[in-house]
């Protein structure tokens, strides 16, 4: 024997089923560890006391009623997009076109508000905006789905490219609609008449959006979990040959599911324009079509868990904005902190599913932690 090889330092083994309490304990430990690392980085990089920076984050997110409402509004948008992704992701259809599907919804709503505002009753206009934008989002997702079902094209690339088509369309119409002339912006649509604007519930102008999104979330959860179609989606996602074996028409399920996915994105676009922003820009979705993908993954495609995840991400980003102004820190610094926290959240899933064994000195070892 030339050299005696040694036992490897670390073994990774798969865990047995973990209780949900255990899983949450690991998640909390990971978040605590993340905050600790953030604290160390903060002190090392800026010399500020970590507690005050964390306080700044919380202040940015929850510091005043207005801040809380804005947080709710932003979370609702993110949640809505993540919920829209849920059915397609459960089907293992990697829809990266959330951005475009939302944008095309904003475009249709804006167009109807601009061209039909005050020409037809307000309720009819709102209904048309709703139907139109949902349909537009559905088409934007349905086209790649049709190609996937028919010719097995790559859905990731196709949905991604549809985003640019949508953005360019909006850019084109903004030039046509710009007001005042030369500003390059559309400005508030129907500011004087509020035609096509969603009513606000009492004085809370963001509340309706939040409620609608929560309702959609619950409906989506029920649809995926308990309906026959939801079951078909899960079977197609896990194994297309099993689906064919029991006579599920895979093509039809793919297209139908993406119409739903895109439709919810279109709804999100409608809520943004008619509900809160009352204007259109090319950056109205602002990358949240992609952030929604992250939310969906972190929540493991469970719409109810998405509520928590989108709230967490919005707290982090609102807080980041706050500390960058109040402490004079660069926005990038906040991105670093957000990155650290996300990294730990993702890592927690690894520790939930796997277990590490370290080499022990003695021969006889208790191999279980």
């Amino acid at each position: 024997m030339t050299k005696k090889s040694r036992e490897p330092l670390i073994h990774i083994t798969k865990r047995k089923e973990m209780s949900w309490q255990g899983a949450w304990a690991i998640r909390l430990i990971c978040i605590a560890a993340a905050l600790m690392v953030c604290a160390v980085i903060t002190t090392a990089a800026t010399g500020l006391a970590p507690a005050s920076v964390f306080g700044g984050v919380l202040n940015g997110a929850f510091g005043s009623p207005r801040k809380i409402w804005v947080l709710g509004k932003e979370s609702a948008v993110l949640l809505c997009i993540a919920v829209a992704m849920a059915p397609s992701f459960r089907m293992r259809f990697w829809n990266l076109g959330g951005e475009g599907q939302v944008i095309i919804g904003t475009l249709i709503t804006s167009a109807l508000m601009i061209y039909l505002g005050d020409k037809i009753p307000n309720a009819v206009l709102i209904a048309m905006c709703l139907v139109g934008s949902v349909a537009a989002g559905a088409v934007w997702a349905g086209v790649p789905a049709f190609f996937k079902a028919r010719w097995n094209t790559n859905e990731t690339l196709f949905t991604l490219m549809m985003n640019y088509v949508a953005i360019q369309l909006v850019a084109y119409f903004i030039i046509i609609w710009e007001s005042p002339r030369g500003s390059g912006k559309v400005g508030i649509i129907n500011q004087s008449t509020s035609a096509g604007w969603l009513p606000s519930i009492g004085p809370f102008k963001y509340l309706l959006n939040i409620l609608v999104v929560l309702l959609v979330t619950v409906l989506m959860y029920i649809y995926l979990q308990y309906s026959k179609q939801g079951y078909e989606i899960a079977v197609v996602g896990e194994s297309q040959s099993t689906a064919r074996y029991v006579g599920i028409k895979v093509d039809r399920v793919i297209i139908r599911t993406l119409l739903i996915s895109g439709g919810v994105c279109g709804l999100c676009g409608f809520l943004m324009v008619a509900g809160t922003d009352h204007t259109i820009t090319t950056t109205l979705a602002g990358g949240r079509g992609f952030l929604g993908v992250l939310v969906a993954w972190l929540a493991q495609f469970n719409p109810l868990a998405m509520v928590l995840v989108s709230l967490l991400l919005c707290v982090l980003s609102r807080g980041a904005g706050e500390i960058s102004t109040s402490f004079g820190l660069n926005q990038s610094f906040c991105d670093i902190l957000t990155g650290v926290i996300l990294f730990f959240i993702i890592a927690s899933e690894f520790f939930i599913h796997y277990q590490l064994h370290f080499r022990k000195g003695e021969k006889k070892e208790a191999s279980h932690v």
């Binding site: 024997m1 090889s5 036992e7 083994t13 047995k16 939801g230 079951y231 899960a234 896990e238 191999s367």
Partner: protein, 509 residues
């Protein structure tokens, strides 16, 4: 036995995967120059134990010694350094490379790659043991048996003295198995040590010097093959008395059920898979389909089940009143809507018959979820069915909400067969229903098939173990290269005749 020296000694080996204890304090000696059969049911830990010897897994505790030296083997490379080579059930070859390229792949020899010298050495090895390998042949041109030979030569090329073969005969015809065994005997003569993992008892008796039995991860015992018999080995494996005869109840009330006429099928890349196949399957009998794997068995069953586009021919379902209904061009749902109750146990259990990540209830639902007009799926019925299948077929599972992927092969198959017969079918198609199953589970499946036969179901049984086909089936259709080589009666059929029919049309010499 004492006169021989110990090649490998494993002491107190324990290996766990999560809550599953795959090996529990196993101690096993392997002697130089012997052929040892490692026998055990599925999930008894045979493969896991050998994987630890070949460096795939690392034991949680225990000590392995080679030639008296304590060693740690933490990678396949280190296993090779100790002269241990394993031939896995699933071959690990690069399809587009030649035999020689595959054999030298991963070897770190000094100097530049010299395929000529390698080919010469490969021929030397082949001559020494009686292999038949062309070093220049590409893997994709090879039969399963040739690929296996390449795997064995690969291991020998690396200088292995201890060869481990994991169920090597599962993919071979009887004739190929004979050839393999001849080679193994030559290796034994040359002083090599061979461990063969199997659960085919007649092979154990034919090839091995010694048998070691594992049950549920524990080492049960060992004996000389010459001093034991199939019954004793089975009892040790299962842990209780088991009868080894397969029942073949006399078919009664047989009536034509499925008629296949001049069926021709091409695969997606236009390869002819079935060529002018005609036969009739009768209700109340088991029709066996024999053939080397990949001879059109899969396409035949999938054509009947409505999953395979057909080029020409006709498949009809015959009702009790004799009227015929064409199944051609209909998908499984349309077939079901005709009132034809057709069940299908496909070869790929987790990839086609079941959804691995779903639990038992949701898998039961696959067949029934469309029932009723509600938009919501009924889980109550499938849940009761899952409970019934678990109870009646003695499925070993922590509960009905366990993902089926976590169950062992035999239990997965029980779940699948249980669901398929729950719909009271009139036709039951099964592909390799006992592949990878241990004796106990296999007999459960044979019994279930016989029960269906007694109920008047037309059972089609595609199998690979000729002994079983001959004992179980009333008639056997032999396929050879997509053509019907012949149909023989089960009782009185001769194994070597059927074996020849599998390799040559009609079985002529």
């Amino acid at each position: 036995m004492d006169s021989r020296s110990i090649a490998v000694s494993m002491r107190g080996i324990t290996k766990t995967f999560g809550a599953t204890v795959a090996n529990d304090d196993v101690s096993l000696d392997i002697y130089k120059g012997e052929i040892l059969s490692l026998l055990g049911e599925n999930g008894s830990g045979k493969t896991t134990l050998m994987n630890m010897l070949s460096g795939i897994y690392f034991p949680d505790s225990g000590q392995i010694s080679i030639n008296g030296q304590p060693v740690t083997i933490s990678s396949p490379r280190e296993a090779f350094e100790h002269g241990i080579g394993m031939i896995h059930q699933h071959f690990k070859l690069v399809d587009v490379f030649t035999a020689a390229e595959n054999i030298v792949l991963g070897l770190e020899e000094k100097g530049k790659l010299d395929l000529k010298r390698a080919a010469a050495r490969i021929r030397e090895i082949c001559d020494a043991y009686g292999f038949d390998v062309d070093p220049q042949q590409k893997i994709y041109d090879m039969s399963v048996s040739q690929k296996q030979t390449v795997e064995i030569v690969k291991v020998l090329y690396r200088g292995a003295d201890i060869l481990i073969l994991d169920e090597p005969t599962a993919v071979l015809t009887p004739q190929e198995t004979e050839k393999l065994f001849a080679v193994l005997r030559n290796m034994r003569r040359d002083g090599k040590t061979v461990v063969i993992i199997t659960h085919k008892l007649h092979e154990v008796e034919e090839i091995s010097d010694r048998v070691a039995v594992l049950r549920k991860g524990r080492y049960i015992g060992e004996m000389k093959t010459s001093e034991t018999n199939a019954q004793e080995m089975t009892n040790m494996m299962v842990g209780r008395e088991v009868t080894l005869n397969i029942n073949r109840p006399e078919p009664k009330d047989v009536r034509p059920r499925i008629r296949v006429e001049h069926l021709t099928v091409r695969s997606e890349d236009k390869v002819l898979k079935l060529d002018d196949v005609s036969f009739t399957a009768f209700g109340g009998e088991i029709l066996g389909i024999a053939g080397i794997s990949g001879c059109g068995q899969k396409e035949l069953l999938e054509s009947i089940a409505g999953l395979q586009p057909v080029e020409s021919g006709e498949i009809s379902y015959l009702h009790d009143d004799g009227s015929a209904e064409s199944l051609l061009g209909k998908d499984p749902q349309e077939i079901a809507r005709l009132g034809v109750s057709l069940s299908f146990v496909p070869e790929d259990r987790l990839g086609m018959g079941l959804v691995g990540s779903m639990d038992l209830t949701d898998n039961m639902m696959l067949r029934s979820f469309r029932r009723g007009s509600s938009v919501f799926a009924d889980r109550r019925g499938p849940q009761r069915l899952a409970e019934r299948v678990v109870r009646e077929l003695e499925v070993n599972t922590p509960g009905i909400s366990t993902p089926v992927r976590r169950l062992s092969g035999g239990n997965v198959q029980k779940v699948l067969v249980g669901r398929e017969i729950a719909s009271a079918p009139t036709v039951l198609l099964s592909a390799y229903a006992v592949r990878g199953l241990d004796i106990n589970s296999s007999y459960v499946i044979y019994d279930l098939l016989n029960q269906q036969k007694r109920k008047g179901v037309a059972v089609v049984y595609v199998g690979e173990d000729l002994d079983v086909l001959l004992e179980l089936c009333d008639r056997i259709l032999v396929l050879c290269g997509g053509k019907v080589s012949g149909i023989v009666d089960g009782p009185g059929a001769d194994k070597s005749t059927v074996g020849l029919m599998m390799t040559r049309l009609g079985g002529e010499k």
